[in-house]
């Protein structure tokens, strides 16, 4: 009798009971549940630092370019008569150790040119080269070749040029002043740190270089993202997409500061950061309002803000809740605004 019960107990102890297993699994589950968000947050913090490093390296390249040429590169036409427009990102290539790529590019041809250069290479193919420091590692679309030329250049839109996430502003839309969101002295189409017509110098920044934004993030283009969700997938051949995204394209500049509604679906509006990464073009191109310029908006995949580079060479993190008036003051290089503190 006693022997039998002992044997019975031994048989019981030879394995874990179901309850024991469930308790262990539950404890492990809780621990993983606690740990996983922390790990993800640490990884995102690292990506944000890497992004901040990239944008600062680009800003240093701007400074080096100015030392060598006595002006900052802009999105100008190299010769006034042609239809060619070259973006600053191309001019900066020798200053970010991409001299070999730069020397192959023919600056007298457009970025979308498929006419062979002197050595037989095509500009359109050369601009498919991925430049890691032109991209934010938090962007799920980084490292992809998915932007291309709009229909007038080629019969259909093709995904052929490599992604770039950092863009500047040409100015601030006067419509923002009509909405009472910015002051009239800030609201000019051509008061940004990027220019389509002139090569700016240090003297052009009368508001002070440390008060003027050169670059911000606009990630995820040419797809349309709103409030963290991809709402339109821009497949090659479709015309509905954000105009911009390729690092070589002048249309990747953010055009003028023009806010959107709280859902990101209409413009103008009071939301300027992290609501949408751009306004989708309709089927008509050039768009009557945006023309051939970009339709991107300031947007990042970081939590509650974007990384920005200032003309003095600093990189700062701007909150999504920034006052539009203050943000517009930082975009304007010559408006005489005094309230330019981030805090």
């Amino acid at each position: 009798m006693r022997l039998q019960s002992l044997a019975h107990r031994n048989r019981l102890r030879s394995a874990f009971t179901l309850v024991e297993l469930l308790v262990v699994i539950a404890i492990i589950g809780i621990l993983v549940g606690l740990l996983l968000p922390a790990v993800q947050a640490a990884r995102e913090a690292a990506r944000r630092m890497s992004c901040s490093n990239n944008i600062r390296q680009i800003e240093l390249a701007f400074q080096n370019f100015h030392s060598a040429n006595k002006y900052f590169p802009s999105n100008i036409r190299p010769d006034a008569v042609s239809t060619v427009r070259v973006r600053w990102a191309t001019y900066l290539l020798p200053h970010i150790e991409q001299q070999s790529l730069y020397s192959k590019i023919d600056l007298k041809k457009n970025w979308s040119s498929v006419v062979p250069n002197a050595d037989g290479s095509l500009n359109y193919d050369l601009f498919g080269s991925k430049i890691p420091i032109y991209e934010c590692p938090s962007n799920p679309e980084s490292g992809r070749v998915q932007d291309g030329s709009p229909p007038p250049d080629t019969p259909v839109w093709q995904a052929r040029v490599a992604n770039g996430d950092y863009s500047g502003y040409y100015g601030v839309s006067p419509q923002m002043a009509t909405l009472g969101l910015v002051d009239a002295n800030s609201a000019r189409n051509d008061n940004g740190a990027m220019s389509k017509t002139a090569n700016l110098k240090f003297a052009s920044f009368t508001d002070g270089t440390s008060n003027t934004i050169r670059l911000v993030e606009s990630s995820g283009r040419p797809h349309v993202y709103r409030l963290g969700r991809k709402v339109i997938d821009a497949t090659p051949g479709s015309s509905v997409r954000v105009n911009g995204g390729g690092w070589c394209r002048p249309a990747s500049e953010l055009n003028v500061l023009l806010g959107v509604s709280a859902d990101g679906a209409s413009y103008p509006g009071p939301q300027v950061i992290n609501t949408t990464n751009g306004i989708p073009l309709g089927s008509t191109y050039p768009d009557p309002y945006f023309g051939v310029d970009g339709t991107g908006q300031a947007y990042s995949f970081h939590s509650s803000g974007i990384t920005a580079a200032f003309v003095d060479g600093s990189a700062r993190y701007l909150s999504s809740n920034i006052d539009v008036r203050v943000y517009a003051g930082m975009i304007s290089r010559n408006g005489g605004e005094i309230n330019k503190d981030i805090e």
Binding site: P174, K196, A262, D263, S266, Y267, P270, Y289
Partner: protein, 143 residues
């Protein structure tokens, strides 16, 4: 056993409803209530005006909300948006400004193609009262 279990489930459900209900209340509590409103803009020739941006500037209100605005389509129709697209506008008195921004050439910055007086709330001379019911406004005619 089964009775206490069902009571437990019921309590959890009620707790969940209360928590989610209070969260829904929190997220929208800072918004002023809006009612949908739409209208039409006609040009000098009486034809519908495309791409006209209509901005409603509130007068006599202590409430804070973004200025309701809308852009006309090819039929000259617009719907007002205050927070989200086409969500309308809060009831009250407004002065209305109308601008029409588009580009003459694709590479030049857009310009306003309507008289500058219409772009300023002091001189536009258009006064509108929005009610709490859905409003279809009288057409705005550019003179």
């Amino acid at each position: 056993m089964s009775r206490s279990f069902s009571r437990c489930v019921r309590t959890a459900l009620i707790c969940g409803l209360v928590v989610s209900g209070s969260m829904v209340g929190c997220s929208r509590s800072d918004r002023v209530q809006t009612t949908s409103a739409e209208g039409t803009v006609l040009g000098q020739d009486g034809k519908p005006l495309d791409r006209a941006t209509v901005v409603f500037h509130p007068t006599e209100t202590s409430l804070k909300f973004p200025k309701p605005r809308g852009t006309t389509n090819a039929e000259g129709r617009f719907q007002l948006s205050t927070y989200d697209t086409n969500d309308g506008a809060p009831a009250g008195k407004y002065k209305v400004t109308i601008e029409q921004w588009y580009r003459d050439t694709p590479d030049q910055a857009p310009t306003n193609h309507l008289p500058a007086g219409l772009a300023s709330e002091a001189t536009s001379g258009i006064d509108v009262q929005l009610s709490k019911d859905q409003s279809v406004l009288e057409p705005f005619k550019i003179r």
